[in-house]
């Protein structure tokens, strides 16, 4: 005779909803932080395009202002959990979308979108580590393999073989 337990996860359980929301928000935040990290790297002094790169004799210096201004903010929108990467430095948008010089040449140094695309490659890893914190068994009292305070309902019943 062996005793088995069937664990039923009710997605309508309040705790599951709460944890799912927490996971989703933290996941969004983590991806955004990763993207911001890449974005800061893209415009770091010495690595970014530099000030007025289309004017070789430009007297401007690379201050790193854009790099320092890149921030992340979580922005929950009801059931949609989002986080944004943003800057309020005006030339950030010009670099991202480009500009045309008097000679007609179009210059462009996208730094934000490539960073987000690069961060997307880390989505699976971040999802796993985040889910481990929010949705795993760690930190919960267990009976055998069943969480006693997990957001699930567990039914024990004897099984004969």
């Amino acid at each position: 005779m062996r005793v088995t337990a069937r664990v039923e996860v009710n997605l309508r359980t309040r705790e599951v909803k709460a944890r799912g929301a927490g996971f989703a928000q933290e996941f969004a935040n983590a991806i955004a932080e990763k993207a911001a990290e890449f974005a800061r790297r893209n415009v770091a002094p010495g690595r970014g395009p530099g000030p007025h790169p289309h004017r070789p004799q430009s007297p401007h210096i690379d201050t790193g202002e854009l790099m320092r201004s890149i921030q992340v903010k979580e922005q929950p929108m009801g059931f949609l959990k989002t986080a944004i990467i943003w800057t309020d430095v005006p030339y950030g948008a010009h670099l991202e979308y480009g500009w045309t010089t008097r000679s007609g040449t179009h210059w462009r140094y996208p730094w934000c979108l490539p960073a987000v695309e690069e961060a997307r490659a880390y989505a699976a890893v971040i999802a796993r580590s985040t889910a481990r914190r929010w949705l795993s068994d760690e930190g919960f009292v267990q009976a055998g393999r069943v969480n006693l305070v997990a957001p699930t309902t567990a039914t024990f019943f004897p099984e004969f073989d």
Binding site: Y91, A93, H94, Y97, G98, W99, T100, T101, R102, G104, H106, P110, L113
Partner: protein, 143 residues
């Protein structure tokens, strides 16, 4: 292996087929590789676009690519009107067959506004401009 279609050609072919958009821009839609003609020396209604790239599907010949658009006008409100015409022509459009050259027809499957519109006048020229980006799904090979 079939030839992959050029993303810019598909977009140019589609945009120039929309009468309302051609009217709003005065038949001035410019994309790679030629760009904006040197003859345009003052702000007027026109659209400049370029493809930013994007992922393809591993199993079927479909691509999801992002296109950046700059909508110009002699005034900011005119640039906004050009954006509006572009939005009406492209946003949520589905299943459009686009003739890009004699005997070559592409399939534009879906397009959605991804970012913008943002008023962003040209910093050096001072030309009124609205920038935006669309995500476009299209078939990579000809129909």
């Amino acid at each position: 292996m079939t030839t992959r279609l050029d993303s810019d050609s598909i977009m140019y072919g589609y945009l120039t087929s929309v009468t309302a958009l051609m009217t709003a821009t005065g038949n001035r839609i410019y994309g790679p590789p030629l760009g904006v003609p040197a003859g345009i020396t003052e702000p007027k209604t026109f659209i400049k676009f370029s493809c930013d790239g994007g992922p393809g599907h591993p199993d079927i010949p479909m691509s999801s690519e992002r296109f950046s658009f700059s909508c110009y006008g002699s005034k900011q409100s005119e640039a906004q009107s050009v954006f509006r015409a572009l939005f009406d022509a492209l946003h949520r459009v589905g299943r459009q067959e686009v003739t890009i050259s004699a005997g070559v027809t592409a399939l534009l499957r879906r397009a959605d506004l991804e970012s913008g519109p943002m008023d962003l006048p040209e910093p050096e020229l001072g030309w009124p401009r609205v920038v935006c980006a669309f995500r476009v799904v299209f078939m990579e090979r000809a129909l």
